[in-house]
């Protein structure tokens, strides 16, 4: 028996009475069962209270007469999206949908550190991350054998100040060619330009520091010099403002004075990979809505 297929809707709109009822009724009227729903109203949002909702809808109902009737005879995904778009327009909502039988394609960018790369690939293989990994890209050849051991194509794009622009163009071509939906910077030690970020699919980065502390380079050395008692890692969407993008997930580990910068790096590596994989998973499950500088994780 095949897995049931779900549609994952994310909605964000100016708050007003009745939003939950209108959204829920839309699917109910169409015979589509809501498997899971969660919502949040941010009363502190700039420009007034804002409503956020995530809906997981069972598409089995699409083949019923109710759906056919509600969608004016054409019970297709396209018709569903058209109808939902009309509802959304009437409440000034931003929205998106994806379907669980359309597997997301994730490109992983790395440099030399294999920890996060292994972690992501192993979770994908274990079924924890519902995605495909069509290619791994690096500015160094170091991790090619890792990619090979998993039979994932590996592209090496060495970057120098002179070649940076060309390589970013090449990156975009590869992303387009492989139908990449998400780029994950799994310890990719290059700063991406604003131009690239504008043109690329969403990009998730792992920062090896507890942002907003320790922005910039060598956060573990900064942490050691400052004598902190916890170190952390932060997964965030990459934006033009370095280390300032909306935070998706963070975590920390306890450390003591006895650990030098190298040992902080080792402890931190464990935090990084757990934080990054949680963030990627939340993104793939369409749980994350960006709201200004913050994220809503439903």
């Amino acid at each position: 028996m095949s897995q049931p297929v779900h549609a994952l809707f994310l909605v964000s709109a100016p708050d007003q009475p009745g939003l939950v009822a209108r959204l829920a009724s839309f699917f109910y009227a169409g015979g589509l069962n809501i498997i899971d729903a969660s919502n949040h109203t941010d009363i502190h949002a700039e420009g007034g209270a804002r409503f956020f909702m995530r809906l997981v809808v069972d598409l089995a109902g699409l083949s019923t007469p109710a759906a056919s009737k509600a969608l004016r005879g054409s019970a297709t995904r396209g018709a569903l999206e058209t109808a939902f778009g009309e509802l959304s327009a009437s409440i000034s909502a931003d929205w998106s949908v994806r379907y669980t039988d359309v597997v997301q394609r994730v490109a992983i960018l790395v440099t030399k550190d294999p920890a996060c790369l292994y972690d992501l690939v192993l979770r994908q293989r274990a079924g924890e991350l519902n995605c495909e990994i069509p290619l791994i890209i690096s500015n160094h050849p170091t991790l090619e054998p890792v990619a090979e051991s998993f039979r994932i194509p590996f592209v090496c794009l060495p970057v120098t100040p002179e070649t940076k622009q060309d390589q970013e163009r090449r990156l975009l071509e590869l992303a387009a060619q492989h139908h990449v939906d998400l780029v994950v910077l799994a310890r990719y030690m290059q700063i991406l330009t604003a131009g690239f970020l504008e043109a690329a699919p969403p990009v998730i980065n792992i920062h090896h520091g507890f942002l907003p502390a320790f922005q910039g380079a060598k956060p573990y050395h900064q942490a050691h010099a400052r004598g902190v008692k916890l170190i952390g890692a932060t997964a965030h969407y990459a934006t033009q403002d370095l280390d300032q993008g909306p935070i998706i997930e963070q975590d920390v580990a306890r450390v003591t004075h006895a650990l030098g910068p190298e040992e902080l790096t080792r402890v931190g590596r464990d935090v990084e990979r757990v934080v990054l994989s949680r963030a990627v998973r939340a993104h793939l499950e369409r749980r994350v809505i960006v709201a200004g500088r913050r994220t809503i994780v439903l």
Copy 2:
């Protein structure tokens, strides 16, 4: 300006399509805005998948024509409850409601340890726990000065094997007389009988162990003997089966071989009071539904 008044609905029903839509539409039709909603379907429940929902509804809408019309001219809390009861019956739901302007009354039972008592009272005073504490009951006089310093009535009911039955009867009388909605065992070192638990309001207990490990007496001594590296505490509804009631909240703290049983007790005390106050808060905010041996915390 006064605080808006909310109704907190908790619903539990056999799962079926359209439940979110029907519940949301009920309020929408009555002009009542849903401030916050969350739901969960437990597909592992005994007897088939079960649906749980918490709805926070703004009662301001009760004074609008829409409510009046939907509730057949009588836009009162009673009429709302009657109408919601009819809807619930049609979906075989269990449900309850409470209103944020009806403050819950909590009796705290203690023995000699003041830590959890202080914690609860201070949080209530700081506005973190929306409740009144009309009385503190103890089987020892030790904590009377604490009660006094907060001007809370203190009743001492010493318990011996011979007086146990009488004192439990007295406890029930006091609970009734003070309109107690919740009893909190804040390190009350007496086992309550099944008869008492049946007749009493809900009872929350803090167990100083990470249940189901270390049931019974002296959990920190057990934990020390076993050499565990973490100790914990568990807040649960008291049931006839000692230390087996549905768990509401748990947490742990890291310990080492260097700590003896007394020091484990000290570390544990910090965990206990945080865990107990979180559980009481969740209960007061109507976030907890008991489902068999488990709780759903929405």
Copy 3:
């Protein structure tokens, strides 16, 4: 039977071979048993590797012939200190000692928030903090009833820009008069001047942020605006550089997008008081050595 009396020695010296042996042998030769010892060598210290050691010594041995002989006939605390001072000089060490039967005296400074104050006093009463609290000082009268309920003298010193200098002088007089060994800023909302900090006993402050992130005012509002997923608190020695003093202890709590600034404040308050009390305890047990901008906690 009385408690055994211990001397707590803290030593810091340039690293060289044989330091543990020389320090341990000093006490052994004098018939003084080392109950507990821990040491750390910081190879990253500025100016070369530095050795840190904490020794807990049972003073019962002071009354034995061995001590008398080793200390040249005068087996007193003074003679012990003189002899240890000579040893320390020979290894260029900084050192300090305190005795467990000389109870430390702690002044608590507060403004309006009672959470940390209650926490410290209750732990002191429960025997968790081995100290006396001879007075509570505040720039507001709000918490006088709390001080009174514990029968602790309360002094109100309102501060305005004009009176700041005078009030700090008054603070120093009170500290001297009450033989205060440690000043704890338990949410004291005034910045202390460099002059005060130089003249005063050690000062421990609780910062309601995960330093070095969120320095300065309203850290929870900053944290909310930035959308962090963890909030924290930091206990540190107060120095002239605001929020830059050596960190003694830190911890965090997990938060979500759903919490507004007020709720972050509530969650943070729990972290603050636990972190502050751990730092005060570590200081009282002579576990903390300041080493530049960092602390060694043995």
Copy 4:
């Protein structure tokens, strides 16, 4: 330049005055610098207070005249061990030593789950675990490709009730033949017999539950049924009493009612591998002393 070579001594003895001084002086007299030392006295031990110490000694001193003189002309590791053995005998101590230039050899036993296996191998490759992994043994062929991708010999020893005894004998032969110092059960789904455990090198097991809760099979299903709010994992030395061996390390992760048994398994897997690798690391660094049912981790 080569790494300095250290000797790691572990000592356990009945407590008495002067132990730290005598042990430290032994090395000092021989010109051997103590790099790191930590000790603990367990006053709750059965049979009276017991002293535990770990000493890290720089062997560079072995080539100095002081060592030669102290060790009676023969400044070898053997002579050092003989002399230390004499000291230990005089204080009735148990002791062991290992040298950092003698790399420990670890055999990993697995069944089908690759998570812990990958974790251990990747950490060993990253230099986090100072050991060699000469072979991987499994009762199933599933993970052979993983072993192969790291070029580690893989031996498949399928186990049935009839072959169990023979396969355990084969396991012991392989351990002897490969000079295995430590066996790690990285989700090896077979119970080892008392006979095997007696004859084998030390065995560390990862239990996917927060022992002593959830002993036995299917701990995540037990945890789900009981509705716990945290799940954990425990690394312990395997002993004849199943799931009762001395605990080396534990940790937990927060879960909610929303997670089914499969999702608890996924969350738990992350805890398991971190806990197991910390325990293996502590063992390899000779930080763990077994004391009855407990461990001292120095």
